[in-house]
Symmetry: C2
Subunit: 176 residues, 2 copies
Amino acid sequence: MPSPNRTTNEEVVAAAREILEDAGPGGLTMQAVAGRVGVRAPSLYKRFADREALLAAVVAATVEELGRRLDGAEDLTAIARTYRAFAHERPEAFRLVFTPYAEQEALRRSAEPVLRAAADLVGEEDALVAARLFTAWATGFLHMELAGAFRLGGDVDEAFAYGLDRLRAGLLAGRR
Amino acid sequence: MPSPNRTTNEEVVAAAREILEDAGPGGLTMQAVAGRVGVRAPSLYKRFADREALLAAVVAATVEELGRRLDGAEDLTAIARTYRAFAHERPEAFRLVFTPYAEQEALRRSAEPVLRAAADLVGEEDALVAARLFTAWATGFLHMELAGAFRLGGDVDEAFAYGLDRLRAGLLAGRR
DNA sequence: ACCTGAACACCGTTCAAGT
DNA sequence: ACCTGAACACCGTTCAAGT
């Protein structure tokens, strides 16, 4: 006798993302996720091989959303602003993006707008290395900000603006 | 009847650091650490309040060692090289440095050489923001490299050299 | 077909009892 | 004083049995 699905993969991932932000990675238990979608923990194994696979799906959904938002950003300034707003909104998920959980494919898609903006600045030939410089800076800055590494002094917004400004200047000067 | 200590805090932390690199954070269990220093897991609670406190001590020791190595580096190029070599040597510990586990004090000490090198380049007034630009880039780059985010194409060494070069150029151009 | 209770392995942590 | 066996709570995961 077939019984209808009591939940969906999308619903499970959405629940996991909420729990992740509310309770951190340690609070993201199979039981907590199951409870939020109204099933028991063993049922989740029909949908995800194990907790790690669920985490990978959470990261994939996060990277996808980030990619969608970045699509609207046209230059490095807009991209940086969007990127930072996203990290502030979903700090726990953001922390997981650059871990081995992340899938290459989704990362590549979300890197597209950065590559385009970098090409506009330095040309096609150096677009990749320039995009990596920008992404590494933005990623590192946000990781440090979220970890509280900037609590010691100085204005964080000012440091972000300075970094973006000097980065753009360095890229423009290296044009060829 | 007093019994002599069968281990020391330093030995426990050293064991934990080895296990962390060999087996990742998931393999860093209290039992594994205890086993390596020749005691049972409950004994560790005489030395560290809980697993999180032990992890914090691991990160503190890591940051301290990084700081010691950076002391020998005089300019941003040398610092970048040292920083990258360290991340390659202890990837798992490096990943934990910019998390809430890290203590502010140790981080500040290890930031000293970067501040000095930044001041040499842009002057005292902008040294802090310049150091944050450099550190964010280096940290982000290494996190991405360790996460395999650069496996898609292009030469990683070249991207690192390009980033450092453009960063220095941007800083120099902003001198005032 | 999908779901679950029960069970197992494993881990963090506590504590009374050993020396 | 330091160490440990035993116990407890909690979690990931499996699976036979339910509908």
